[in-house]
C-alpha cells in the first residue's frame, strides 16, 4: 500500500520533511515520503482550522501513527483555504500517495518570496541522505 520512495522535481521542500506545490498565489502542502516512512502507517491527522493563519517554520498540525506523533511544519506562511478531509477521514492516504491524494492543506501565501528559501528536490535528497 505504501508508495515507493520519490521526491518529485516539481515540488519545493523544507528541511523538516515537508513539501510545497506552488500554484499561483496559493500553495498545497504535505509531508514527504521520508516523513511518512519514518512514522509508519498514519492513524490520525489533526488539521488547522479553515481560515487559520499559519507561519513558516512553525507547526500547523499534527500527524500520528501508532507509536509516534509529529508536528507538521509549515514551509511557507499563509491563510488556510482548504483542509484535505480525505486525510482526516483516512490518514493512511498519506502513506499511499504523499504528494497527490495525501496533501494536507492549501494556503493562500502571505509572502511568496519565502519560496526562494525552500530546497529543490536534489537539495532535499541530500538532507534525506544525511538523516
Amino acid at each position: 500500500m505504501a508508495a515507493t520512495e520519490s521526491y518529485p522535481d516539481d515540488l519545493k521542500y523544507h528541511r523538516e520533511h515537508d513539501w510545497a506545490r506552488i500554484e499561483g498565489d496559493e500553495a498545497v502542502l504535505g509531508i514527504t515520503w521520508f516523513a511518512q516512512d519514518a512514522l509508519g502507517e498514519l492513524v490520525h491527522y489533526e488539521p488547522p482550522a479553515d481560515g487559520a493563519t499559519i507561519a513558516k517554520d512553525t507547526s500547523y498540525g499534527e500527524v500520528e501513527s501508532v507509536k509516534a506523533v509529529s508536528d507538521v511544519i509549515a514551509p511557507l506562511s499563509g491563510e488556510v483555504v482548504a483542509v484535505n478531509q480525505k486525510v482526516v477521514e483516512e490518514p493512511e492516504t498519506v502513506n499511499a500517495d504523499p504528494y497527490g491524494d495525501g496533501w494536507l492543506v492549501r494556503i493562500r501565501m502571505t509572502d511568496p518570496s519565502e519560496v526562494d528559501g525552500l530546497l529543490d528536490a536534489d537539495a532535499y535528497k541530500q538532507v534525506v541522505a544525511e538523516s
Binding site: G40, V43, H44, S65, V66, K67, E92, N95
Partner: protein
C-alpha cells in the same frame, strides 16, 4: 474469550447485602436514575471463573522471568500480602484520631527514616502515588524553592538527558518549565562538555537517573553536580534505577538534592497490572519547608501529622499517600535490614552475567560493565536478516519469557533493555540466554517464524493500528462493532515497528 458482559443473564446476581427494616428514602425526581446501568449479572461462581480465566491469559512475575528494563520486576513477597490485610491496617480510616493511629503513623515515619538512610538525604514525603507524580512534586518543590529566594522568574529551564524516560520531559512541561536536553557521550556518560554549554543562570536544575537507562553509572557525577551547584541550580534524581546502588552509593552523596523512589520497583510493591505504586520524595534539608502537607513527624515518643507548613507546595494526593504500599515497602526493607546491599549486588551480578553471555550474539552499544540492567541492539539482525527488536520480543514469548523493554532508550536503535533483578535463579538466566541465542539463530535461518511470532500465546500478534484508527474503548452491548469482520489493515505488522 467472552467479556463478562457477554456472559451476563438478566436476573442473575452475585451477593446480596443486608436490607435493613427502615422506610425507603426517595431520591428527588430531578436527580433520579433514569436507566439502570448495564453492569454484569452473574452468580458468584461464574464471576470467579471469569476472572480466573482472565488471569490464565496473563503473565506476571509469579509466572516467569520478566526482564523489563528500569521496571525492576523482582519477586513480590507473599508475607507482605498478609500484612496489609491485618485489620489494624486494612480497616483503619485516615481521619481516625491520631492517638488511635499511632501504629500507622509510626510505620510511615519509620519508612521515611529508612528512605532517608538509603538515599543520604534529610526530609521525606510519602504522599506521591507513583514515580511520575514524585517527579512532578519534585519540580514543584524546585519552583517553590526558587520563588522563595526571589529567583523564580530567572530560573525557567530544566535539563534532562537524551536517554531519559518520557515521564521526565512530560513532568517538566506540566510543572511549567522549559526543557533542554543534554547528549550522552560514547562511553554512555552525560556529555559534560555539552552540559557546560547548556547550564547557566536560567537553569533551575537537572533531572537524571544514575545509573542511566543504559544501565551505566555516570563516572562524572561529582563533576556534574558541581556544575549545577556552582550556578545555584538543583539536581533531581529519578529513582527508577535505585535497585543498582542501595547500600553502595547514595544519591544524596552523589550530589542530588531531590530524589523520588519507586516503591513498586526497588521496594517490592506488586505492580498490579499497571499499578498501584508509590513515588515518595526525599530532599536536602533546605527543601524541607516546601514538602507537601501533612508531614508525619515524631514528637517525643508520639507520632503526629503536622499541617503547619506555611511554605508547603500544598497537596499532590489525598491524605498521607497510599498506605498499603508503605506497609509492603517497609516490611521489605526490614526483611533485608542492613544487608540491603546484597539485593543490589546480586542485581548487578545477574545483569553482568547476562550481558557477558549475550554480547557476542547481539550488538552492544556501550562496552562497559553494566549496573542492574543493560541495553543491547538488534541492529545487525535488522540489517542482515530484516528482523527487528519487535520480532525478537514477540518470539521470546514462545520461549516462555516476558520480553524486555524494546525501543527504549531512544539513543539506541532497535534497543532491547534487559533488567533481570536479583531474585532470579541462575538456571532462569541461563534459559533466557539460550532462548536469545536460539532467536539470533532463527533470525538467520528461519526468519518467518520470528515475523509471525508469537505462536504460543492466547492471541497472535495484535493489530495496534486498527485499535488506534477506530477506537473501541468499551463494550457496545447490542451495538458493539465486529472489528473482525472489517477489512484487514494493510501494513499492520510493519507499521508496528517501534513498539
Amino acid at each position: 474469550m467472552k467479556l463478562i458482559f457477554e456472559k451476563s443473564q438478566p436476573g442473575r446476581r452475585g451477593g446480596e447485602l443486608p436490607k435493613p427494616d427502615v422506610p425507603a428514602a426517595e431520591v428527588p425526581a430531578a436527580l433520579r436514575r433514569s436507566r439502570p446501568p448495564r453492569l454484569p449479572e452473574l452468580a458468584e461462581p461464574e464471576i470467579l471463573r471469569h476472572f480466573t480465566e482472565l488471569s490464565t491469559r496473563n503473565f506476571g512475575i509469579d509466572s516467569g522471568f520478566y526482564p523489563l528494563g528500569s521496571c525492576t520486576m523482582k519477586y513480590n513477597p507473599r508475607v507482605n500480602e498478609r500484612l496489609v490485610m491485618l485489620p489494624g491496617f486494612r480497616d483503619l480510616h485516615p481521619y481516625q484520631d491520631e492517638d488511635a493511629s499511632q501504629g500507622a503513623l509510626e510505620l510511615i515515619w519509620r519508612l521515611q527514616e529508612a528512605l532517608l538512610e538509603v538515599s543520604g538525604l534529610h526530609a521525606c514525603s510519602l504522599q506521591p502515588a507513583a514515580g511520575s507524580q514524585g517527579e512532578l512534586t519534585g519540580l514543584m518543590l524546585m519552583r517553590a524553592y526558587f520563588a522563595d529566594r526571589g529567583e523564580g522568574e530567572q530560573r525557567d529551564t530544566i535539563i534532562t538527558a537524551d536517554t531519559a524516560h518520557g515521564t521526565n520531559p512530560a513532568s517538566v512541561t506540566m510543572a511549567g518549565y522549559k526543557l533542554a536536553k543534554v547528549d550522552t557521550d560514547a562511553r554512555g556518560n552525560v556529555d559534560v562538555a555539552h552540559l557546560r554549554e547548556l547550564v547557566d543562570e536560567r537553569t533551575a536544575g537537572l533531572m537524571l537517573t544514575n545509573p542511566s537507562t543504559l544501565g551505566l553509572f555516570d563516572e562524572h557525577i561529582q563533576e556534574i553536580a558541581g556544575i549545577f551547584h556552582d550556578v545555584g541550580a538543583l539536581l533531581y534524581y529519578d529513582g527508577a534505577n535505585l535497585n543498582a546502588v542501595c547500600g553502595i552509593s547514595r544519591p544524596g552523596d552523589m550530589g542530588f538534592d531531590i530524589v523520588h523512589i519507586n516503591l513498586h520497583k526497588t521496594f517490592s510493591q506488586p505492580h498490579g497490572g499497571g499499578g498501584p505504586g508509590g513515588g515518595p520524595i526525599v530532599v536536602r534539608d533546605k527543601l524541607e519547608p516546601f514538602l507537601p502537607v501533612p508531614a508525619v513527624v515524631k514528637d517525643g515518643d508520639r507520632f503526629r501529622l503536622d499541617h503547619n507548613r506555611p511554605k508547603s507546595i500544598g497537596k499532590v494526593r489525598g491524605y498521607t499517600g497510599p498506605f498499603g504500599v508503605f506497609v509492603r515497602s517497609y516490611a521489605y526493607i526490614r526483611s533485608y535490614g542492613r544487608q540491603l546491599r546484597e539485593m543490589s549486588e546480586v542485581a548487578v551480578l545477574n545483569a553482568n552475567y547476562l550481558l557477558a553471555r549475550l554480547r557476542d550474539a547481539y550488538d552492544l552499544p556501550y562496552d562497559r560493565l553494566c549496573m542492574h540492567e543493560f541495553v543491547l541492539s538488534a541492529r545487525s539482525l535488522k540489517r542482515e536478516h530484516g528482523i527487528t527488536a519487535l520480532d525478537v520480543a514477540k518470539r521470546l514469548m514462545d520461549y516462555g519469557f516476558h520480553p524486555p523493554t524494546i525501543y527504549f532508550p531512544l539513543v539506541v536503535p532497535e534497543a532491547l533493555m534487559i533488567e533481570p533483578t536479583e531474585t532470579e535463579a541462575k538456571e532462569t538466566l541461563d534459559a533466557f540466554v539460550d532462548a536469545m541465542l536460539a532467536i539470533a539463530d532463527e533470525a538467520a535461518n528461519d526468519p518467518t517464524v520470528l515475523r509471525e511470532a508469537p505462536h504460543g500465546r492466547p492471541v497472535r500478534r495484535l493489530d495496534e493500528v486498527k485499535a488506534a484508527k477506530r477506537a473501541v474503548v468499551k463494550y457496545g452491548f447490542e451495538d458493539h462493532p465486529d472489528l473482525g469482520a472489517e477489512p484487514a489493515e494493510p501494513r499492520q505488522l510493519e507499521a508496528q515497528k517501534g513498539a
